[in-house]
């Protein structure tokens, strides 16, 4: 992904890694300093910026009210996109850049967004629900993009506030009004009988109880998975590789692990083959590290200072 290295450079780096010495002096399991900041995009319902070393990703989550079909049972829907800035990848041309964006979008779509189903996203059963839009922008890249991307996405979802809603029913049976979700206006015109949801009669519209910045956090936000990339260079493995170090590992394993230690996804990158016994060992170790990282991240997100733009929180662990 980066500029090509000379043979001497890559063999120097690889030889060092095999002896547990990295170009910047970290140990194989050390992360570079990690910075998390939430609430970075005021126009979004939840947002975060994560930096690992110089790799820098912003993620914003926006809610959209969506009508659903009568038969539709899905509670919430989620769309996502990842855009890679050409400034982050000066060596890639347009096509390579859009391929990379597509790959990363697929990773989010496969390993994160399917987990985002919660009854909270349902506004009126069979009629209205929230659609979550998770959009990421890669501003700078110096290796370990996946971990940074998922850290940012997870923090943005952590920051997300879902406005509380209440259902509205009409006293005279008739057709639903508007449906554009413009709260109070339609309520007044229709004449409100009851503010309660599930009072026997079917709610046809809703109003918001909360302003833009208030609302409830997403249920299960503490339990969302983190991504941990293991760079395998048999017999060693290392975490948080820089671009140069990434060029030296023939295999990379992406592990998606919940803070509880449950593994919810694995992806292998790179063309080299992997023996099942290596995989088993890597998994055991990786899950342990990921669990640790997720715990630290949750603690970090709970600190009030994280919700202020650009606050530097120093390195993990």
């Amino acid at each position: 992904m980066a500029q090509p290295l000379s043979k001497a450079e890559s063999s120097y780096t690889a030889a060092g890694l095999l002896n547990s010495q990295r170009p910047d002096g970290r140990s194989l399991l050390d992360y570079r300093p990690i910075t998390l900041a939430t609430g970075v995009a005021p126009t979004a319902n939840g947002s975060a910026r994560a930096r690992i070393g110089d790799t820098d990703v912003v993620v914003a989550v926006k809610l959209d009210m969506q009508r659903m079909d009568e038969e539709d049972e899905e509670e919430g829907r989620c769309v996502c996109s990842v855009e890679c800035s050409p400034s982050a990848f000066p060596h890639l041309d347009r096509d390579a850049l859009s391929d990379l964006s597509t790959d990363l979008t697929d990773h989010l779509r496969t390993y994160l967004t399917p987990l985002l189903t919660s009854p909270q996203l349902l506004i009126i059963p069979h009629a209205r629900r929230w659609q979550l839009a998770v959009d990421a922008l890669v501003l700078a890249h110096s290796g370990n993009l996946h971990d940074t991307l998922f850290a940012a996405a997870r923090s943005a979802l952590w920051d997300l506030r879902l406005p509380r809603t209440r259902g509205v029913v009409y006293d005279a049976p008739g057709t639903g009004v508007g449906g554009d979700g413009s709260g109070t206006g339609s309520v007044e015109r229709a004449g409100v009988l009851d503010h309660m949801r599930g009072m026997g009669r079917q709610a046809v519209d809703f109003e918001l109880e909360d302003g833009a910045d208030e609302g409830l956090p997403l249920e299960g936000r503490d339990d969302l998975p983190v991504c941990l990339t293991m760079n395998l260079l048999s017999p060693v493995y290392y975490l948080d590789a820089t671009s140069v170090e990434e060029a030296c590992s023939p295999t990379r394993l992406l592990l998606f692990v919940r803070p509880s230690g449950t593994l919810c996804g694995i992806q292998k990158l790179g063309s080299a083959e992997l023996h099942p016994s290596e995989l088993k060992q890597a998994l055991q170790e990786g899950v342990k590290h990921a669990k640790e990282m997720a715990g630290t991240m949750n603690r970090r997100l709970r600190e009030p200072t994280t919700r202020s733009l650009g606050s530097n929180l120093g390195p993990f662990s």
Binding site: A41, T43, A44, E83, S87, A88, D93, A133, D135, L139
Partner: protein
């Protein structure tokens, strides 16, 4: 639907500003150290980052010119930037047109003839959008070019102006932009030359001059603010480079070589 009232009885705008008052302006240089020059600018809620690369070896050699540098502009808007989520495809017509007008604004101002066959690449990221996209992009690009040490004839500073009934107002938010006729002007403050005028709404010709002049005046005020930020940064850098072991001897050697 409540009707939007651009000016209330107290002659204040929807966000409480007076007609000629600008939103809070802030700017930061070298926000992306990996670029040759970068800057981030905000006008109220609108936030734009510009990264400049070059002058460097052109990626596409076919386009290079033997007598000057090629200026490329690329713009991307974050999907969450505006009120509604919107994903813009690469090569979206409107974005391309927008990039072309930025390029046309800066081409005459950058001393491109100093760098034949090179390329200067400008990448603009719109992170937040609440009106004034063009002005914020131009101001961010100016600062990023200065940060990259690319020679320019002058600052380019830009501001939008709108009209409600007979009152002209400056620095429009997106709700004002959608309701009022508006014009965006980019000026070279020293000479008073104009490098861009952009207007996409109808406006009576008699009113144009007043708005145009106000936008130019406002642009000069912004230039003062940008210059202050640039000077502060330059002074800080100069201090660091002095303080960090550079002796007078070495400095003299440097100048002799010029």
């Amino acid at each position: 639907m409540s009707r939007f009232e651009p000016l209330n009885a107290g002659n204040l705008r929807s966000d409480g500003r007076r007609p000629l008052e600008l939103r809070s302006f802030s700017a930061q240089l070298t926000t992306h150290p990996s670029a040759d020059g970068s800057a981030s600018v905000s006008h109220g809620l609108t936030q734009v980052t510009a990264c400049v690369y070059g002058p460097r070896e052109a990626k596409n050699r076919g386009q290079t010119m033997h007598d000057r540098a090629l200026v490329n502009v690329e713009v991307s808007v974050a999907p969450w930037a505006g009120e509604m989520r919107r994903q813009r495809a690469r090569g979206d017509k409107r974005t391309l047109e927008f990039a072309a007008s930025i390029k046309a604004t800066f081409e005459p101002v950058i001393q491109t003839t100093l760098y034949p066959r090179s390329e200067i690449h400008i990448h603009i990221h719109v992170l937040q959008l609440d009106g004034g996209l063009l002005q914020a992009s131009i101001n961010a690009t100016t600062l990023a070019l200065i940060d990259a040490g690319i020679p320019m004839l002058d600052y380019v500073s830009s501001l939008s102006a709108g009209l409600y009934l007979t009152t002209a107002m400056l620095d429009l938010t997106s709700i004002e932009e959608s309701d009022l006729p508006s014009v965006t002007v980019a000026v070279l403050p020293r000479s008073g030359k104009v490098t861009l005028v952009s207007m996409e709404t109808r406006l009576h010709v008699d009113r144009f001059e007043e708005m145009f002049k106000l936008a130019m005046e406002g642009g000069k005020v912004l230039r003062g603010e940008m210059d202050r930020i640039v000077r502060e940064r330059t002074a800080a850098l100069a201090r660091q480079m002095e303080g960090g072991g550079g002796t007078k001897e070495e400095d003299k050697m440097d100048t002799d070589d010029l």
